[in-house]
Structure formats: C-alpha cells, structure tokens
C-alpha cells in the first residue's frame, strides 16, 4: 500500500481529534487537507483544522531576532538552535476510518495511537474518501477552536484538487452543504462564497 508522504507523529489523541507534531518546522499539511494515521485495528482519517508553530518549552517565549538581517531565512541561519526549540503541530478532526475493506465516515472505535505516523493522503485516496460526503455532517457539527465554516471551505477546496472536474465536485459538495444547513440560507451563502 502506498502510504503517501509521512509528515508527522501523533502526540495527543482523543476519539474525535488528534494532534500531530511535524518532523520539519513549518512543513505541516495545508489547512483542510486529508491526513491519516495507522491505528491498531484501522486506518484513521482526519481533516487538518488548525496548524500552529510554537516554542517547545512552554516557559520560553520566542523573541524577534531579525531586525539587522536582510531576509527571513538569515534569521534561522544565524540561529540554528531555533529549529530544535520550535515545533509545528497541527490539529486533526477525525472524520472516518477504514477497517478491513470498509470505509466508514464516522468515528473509529479507538482513538489514534500516540506516536502513530501521520501521512498526507494521496489524490486517489482523497477521491476514494470523498466518494461519500457524509463526513461533512461531522465537520459542520464540530465545535472547533477555529471557524467551522472556514475549515469546511478549506477542506472542500483541498479535496476539489483531487478531481479533474473540480467544479463538478464543488457543486455536488455545495448541494450536500445546502441540505445539511437546511434553512440557514445565510450561512450557506457565506460558505459557498469561500469555495473558490
């Protein structure tokens, strides 16, 4: 099985979410992209909803260092230790799992294991997953630290790139949203506007 690009490792996990730490600073997946990690019994899929770079040591704040420098890269060249003091983490909303041959668009029985490797899904895998848009319901109803509508829009934009006819995908997804948002025409309108 082609696993895709391995980018991070699970460092915190619950049934509905997990946090992963990137191996390389600032090399996290894009907001809204589909990632997966290997669980004990199943593969767990999730959508990246928040990416954050912070100091590894909660007691030490990052300070500005580049006043005298020409480019931003120079800051790191002059302070090689920085890469080790900082870390890029991202939060993932779990939206489904694969157990054996079955792909399910609901939460897995067990959370993602700590230190599970996290991969960015390949385009084919995105297509396979997005065959059913049932996962949108999970996203719409989630309570997240960032705007849900932003995440939904980012996710659909990301997914649409997996399709040769991305417009058709967006229309289909848009209609699913319209159904989920029911009467809320204003909210629907605002999400739809972010789909391009």
């Amino acid at each position: 099985m082609d696993l895709g690009t391995k980018v991070a490792e699970v460092i915190e996990a619950s049934s509905a979410e997990f946090v992963a730490q990137c191996y390389k600073l600032d090399q996290g997946p894009a907001l809204g992209s589909l990632v997966k990690t290997e669980g004990e019994l199943c593969e767990i899929f999730g959508i990246v909803y928040d990416v954050e770079t912070h100091s590894l040591d909660p007691g030490r704040r990052v300070i500005a260092r580049g006043e005298q420098m020409e480019t931003q890269d120079e800051v790191f060249r002059a302070n090689p230790q920085l890469a080790r003091l900082l870390s890029t983490d991202f939060r993932v909303l779990v939206v489904g799992h694969r157990q054996g041959d079955g792909l399910h668009h609901y939460l897995p029985p067990m959370p993602a294991p700590i230190h599970g490797f996290v991969y960015i899904c390949q385009l084919e895998e995105v297509q396979g997953f997005a065959q059913s848009l049932d996962f949108l319901g999970l996203v719409i109803d989630a309570r997240l630290s960032v705007s849900v509508d932003e995440v939904v829009a980012a996710c659909l934009r990301c997914f649409s790139r997996a399709y040769p006819d991305s417009h058709a995908f967006l229309v289909k997804a848009g209609k699913e949203l319209a159904r989920l948002l029911g009467g809320d025409a204003l909210r629907l309108n605002s999400v739809l506007k972010r789909l391009r």
Binding site: H167, L170, V171, G174, K175, L177, A178, R179, L181, G182, G183, D184, A185, L186, L188, N189, L192, K193, L195, R196
Partner: protein
C-alpha cells in the same frame, strides 16, 4: 432527452406526499431543471409493490427556508446558483397516477389497471420509458392506430379504433389548432383498421380530395391516398370541377325530400318565426310530405290567398315563410325533381365498405350544411335501423358500423336542437343501430351537456374559453388537473386524448400529416412505386 433508450428512464425525484384524488407531490432531484418538466408528460413511479403510471399536471417552485424568498441567495454568482438549484430551493411536480402494473406474472398478463391507491413515500419517480408507453397504449396492430407521440418521446401512442367506433366521439379545439388534420388521421385509422365505414359531411371540402395547410400548400385528402376505399360526392359540381376533384357522384336533392323537420331545423338560418315553422306542418298535411314544398313555391298570389284563408294562416306568417323558402332556391343542388337518389347511392357505397365524403364546395354556410347533413343522415340512419332490427331478428347479417362525421357540431347539437335532430338521437342511442358520430367543434360549450357526456372518446386541442374547457372535461376523473394540462397545450398539433379508446388520458403531438413521408407511413404508394409493386405482383403470379 429525445434520444433516450427504449428502456431507459431518467430519474426525476421522489414522492413526498399526496393523495389519490389530488395526485402525488414529487420533489425534483437537484439535477433536474424544472424548466425541462412539462405538464402532460408521462412518468413512471416505482412503488413498493407495483409500478404506477401518471401524468405531470403541475410544476411548482419550492424553498426550504422561507427567508430565501426575502433575501434571495446570491444567484448572480453562477456557482451559487448551481448549488442552490434543487437544494434549498427545489422544483416540485404534481403527478396524477392513472394506471398501475403489478410486479407478479398474473398482473403482467392482465396489463395496466386503473389506480386505486398511491405509491409509498419516497418512491422513485422517473420519466416513462418508450417501453412503458408501449405497454400502456399497445403497439400498432390490426386494431390500434398510431395517432401521435407523447410529449418529448418517439414512442407511438395508439388509439384502439375498434373501441373508438363503439361510441360517438368528439374532436375539439379552437380554430387553427389541428382538428381537421387530426380528423383526417382518425378517418384514415378507421379506414385502415376496417373498424367502420365513414360518411363525412365535409363542410369546407378538405377531407375528400385535398386540403391545404396553413402555409397554403396542398395536402392530400382521403381519396388521393386510398382511391379504391373512398368516394367523393359533390354538392357543388362546379367547384369540384375547378378544383379538379375526381368526383364519384353529384348530389341533387329533390324538393320532395325536404320534410317539415328540415325546415324547423333551419328556423334560425332562414329567419323563420315560430308560427311559420308550425305552418310548414300544416302545409305538409295539406299537400303531402312529398309535394308541399314544390307546391308552395309555385303558388301564385291568388292561390296563396285562398290557401291561407283555408288553413287559417296569418298573412305575415305566410310571407315570412315564403321568403324563407324562396331563399332555398339559391341552392342549385335543390331541384324540383331529383333524377337519382343520393341516399341510395351513399348506401350502396357504404355497403361495399367504401367511405363517402360529401364535399360542400361553395355551399359552406350553415343553412346548406344543416339541411343536407340532416336530411341525408336521417334517411341513412333509418335504413341502418331497419337493417339492425332485421339483424337482431336473425334475418340478416349486421351491417358494418357507420361513423358519421359532422363539423360545427354545436349547430346541430345545441340544447335547443339536440332533441330534434337525427344527430342528437344517434349520439344518445350509442351504437344501438351500428351508427355513431364523430363530432368536430370549436365551441363545445355550445353542445348539449347530455350529448357531451355520451361521447366515448374526446380528443381536444387547445381551448381557451373557460366554458369550452369545462364542457369538454365535465365528468372526467382528475378534471382540475387535466384542465391545467389542456390549457397548456401548444397552439397546434397537440391534443389531449381521453376516454374509451385509450387506457389513460394522454397528451399527444399529433402525427404529422401532409409530407411525402407521412403519406408513405400511412401506406400510400406514389404512382411510380405503385407501378413497380403491381409489376412485381404480376411477376409473382408467374414465378415458378
């Protein structure tokens, strides 16, 4: 959607609510545009236990969120417009279920049955496939005649001609909607399926030899297509000659054949008073049915005076009557002595299975039409009746059913006259004596309701007067739904057919008539082809 497969059914949506009497509501799938849905189209609904057939009777727009009406979504953005369509806003159909077919072998053998229930919630609704339509209307065969196609389909809708001629029927529609073209096809259907023999009172001389389409091009009449099966009778010899019609017989009617009843029917057209119509009966008693008209028309002033004092007829009444009768002289087809007997001639042809079309030529006014059509029909009917009675007694084989076609039927069958004309009687008696009517009219509301209710099959093109629509649809199940279908017909060559000869109401695009292909489809061979065929047939005789 025209190039759809025989079996393919495009999915339209799902049943969401409804009732048997009102029809079911169908939420359209987002992928289907309401604008593609037209009233009158056929759909198939896959119920749990059986398949339903129905007709779209209404199309509406709905929205989930009533706020969408006040703050419409940003549809200027084509993407948003595309998403919104069918979701927060969606199309709804009203479908009137009409027939069902059960899933088991027995029901398939029994064929389509009238509906007695509705499909379950969320049953899938699809456009009917060609095969569905064929299943319902049957393929063209020795009883069924192809009259047209359902909306947006290539399948044939067939009329069961043998059922059709069992009852009197009507073709309606305002002027220019295609009644004449449709009637020509119906006449051909009856001719081809040999279900009946026709007598057509062809007011505007467009059925017998040739007619015109609206662009002024000639279209063939029945005689040109089926020369051995059709005889053209002419009332106006001169007009026939000008039009180069090959006429089989010129009709002349003797004064002796005009009876008081005939004059009574002409009361309005001849401007007669009630009293003078009564006087006719007196005169007939005085001089005899055969001689009264000739005698009265020849009376000199003095003799007239004597006569009216003898019969106690008022002078003004007599003058009114005389003026009316004198106006009959302008009809050259009325002669003091007829040499031949047109009724006898018509019967001879009909007995041989040859259809008779009587062309009126220039006499296309109602006086001539009412007079001649009634006079001839009355006598012909009497003969059929005689024969039918004999046949019932077992003395004679029953005669071939006769269908009499009349135009402007409201002139004969209005409430005032319908009890008195022979046509009212024929319509009421159904087919007791093997005679039925095909009435053609643009103002059906003028026809007696009772007569309308006797018509077995009605075929109606567009009507826009409310009263006409009501009179045509009176007593039909699903009337208000069909009403909306009827009022949305195209202005030409589309008709709603319902009644005896079709299993369920259907909107058709009437089969094309007038092109070389259309003649060919009706079995007509051009002279050259005919020659070839004959040669081949002859060759066949000698083949080893």
């Amino acid at each position: 959607m025209a190039e759809q497969n025989l079996d393919e059914r495009t999915r339209l949506g799902t049943v969401v609510s409804g009732s048997l009497t009102r029809g079911v509501d169908v939420k359209l799938d987002a992928s289907i545009s309401v604008e593609d849905m037209v009233v009158g189209r056929y759909v198939a609904i896959e119920g749990e236990k059986r398949r339903f057939f129905g007709m779209i009777t209404d199309v509406s727009l709905e929205a989930l969120d009533p706020r969408a009406m006040t703050t419409p979504p940003d549809v200027a953005d084509p993407f948003i417009a595309e998403v919104i369509a069918g979701t927060t806003t969606y199309g709804k159909l009203r479908v009137l279920p009409m027939l069902t077919i059960g899933g088991d072998a027995v029901s398939i053998l029994e064929g389509p049955q009238p509906v007695k229930t509705v499909p379950t919630h969320f049953s899938e609704v699809k456009l009917a496939s060609q095969r569905d339509v064929e299943l319902v209307f049957g393929a063209e065969d020795d009883r069924r005649f192809h009259v047209g196609t359902p909306l947006d389909m290539e399948t044939k809708v067939c009329l069961d001609v043998s059922k059709f001629v069992n009852r009197s029927n009507g073709v309606f529609g305002k002027s220019g909607t295609g009644k004449t073209f449709l009637t020509r096809l119906l006449l051909i259907g009856m001719l081809q399926k040999q279900a009946a023999v026709s007598l057509v009172f062809d007011m505007h001389s467009e059925y017998g030899w040739e007619g015109k389409n609206e662009k002024g091009y000639k279209v063939k009449g029945l005689k040109q297509l089926f020369p051995s099966k059709v005889a053209v009778f002419a009332l106006d010899e001169e007009s026939s000659r000008w039009r180069k019609v090959s006429t089989d017989f010129v009709v002349k009617i003797g004064y002796g054949d005009i009876e008081p009843e005939d004059i009574e029917l002409l009361r309005q057209t001849l401007n007669l008073t009630e009293a003078s119509t009564q006087a006719v009966y007196q005169l007939a008693r005085e001089f005899g049915d055969k001689r009264w008209l000739k005698t009265v028309l020849n009376l000199e002033e003095d003799d007239s005076k004597q006569l009216i004092s003898k019969l106690n007829i008022h002078d003004s009444t007599y003058r009114n009557l005389r003026r009316g009768l004198e106006s009959l002289r302008r009809f050259p087809f009325l002669v003091p002595h007829a040499v031949d007997n047109p009724v006898q001639r018509i019967l001879e042809y009909l007995d041989r299975g040859i259809n008779v079309v009587l062309e009126f030529g220039r006499f296309d006014d109602s006086a001539a039409y009412i007079l001649v059509a009634n006079l001839l029909s009355r006598r012909i009917y009497a003969r059929y009746r005689e024969k039918a009675e004999k046949a019932m007694g077992g003395d004679m084989a029953p005669s071939r059913p006769l269908v009499i076609t009349i135009e402007e039927a409201h002139r004969f069958l209005n409430p005032e006259l319908s009890t008195r004309t022979i046509f009212g009687r024929i319509a009421r008696e159904m087919r007791k004596y093997n005679v039925t009517l095909l009435v053609i009219d643009q103002r059906p509301s003028g026809i007696d309701d009772e007569i309308m209710s006797q018509l077995g099959t009605k075929i109606t093109c567009l009507l826009d007067d409310e009263r006409d629509v009501d009179s045509v649809l009176a007593g039909v199940a699903g009337k208000s739904e069909l009403k909306s279908v009827l009022s949305k017909l195209e202005t030409k060559q589309q008709a709603l057919v319902f009644g005896h000869a079709v299993p369920m109401p259907v909107v058709i695009k009437t089969r094309d008539y007038g092109s070389a292909e259309s003649y060919k489809a009706l079995g007509f061979l051009e002279a050259a082809e005919l020659k070839k065929k004959t040669e081949k047939d002859i060759e066949g005789l000698w083949a080893p």
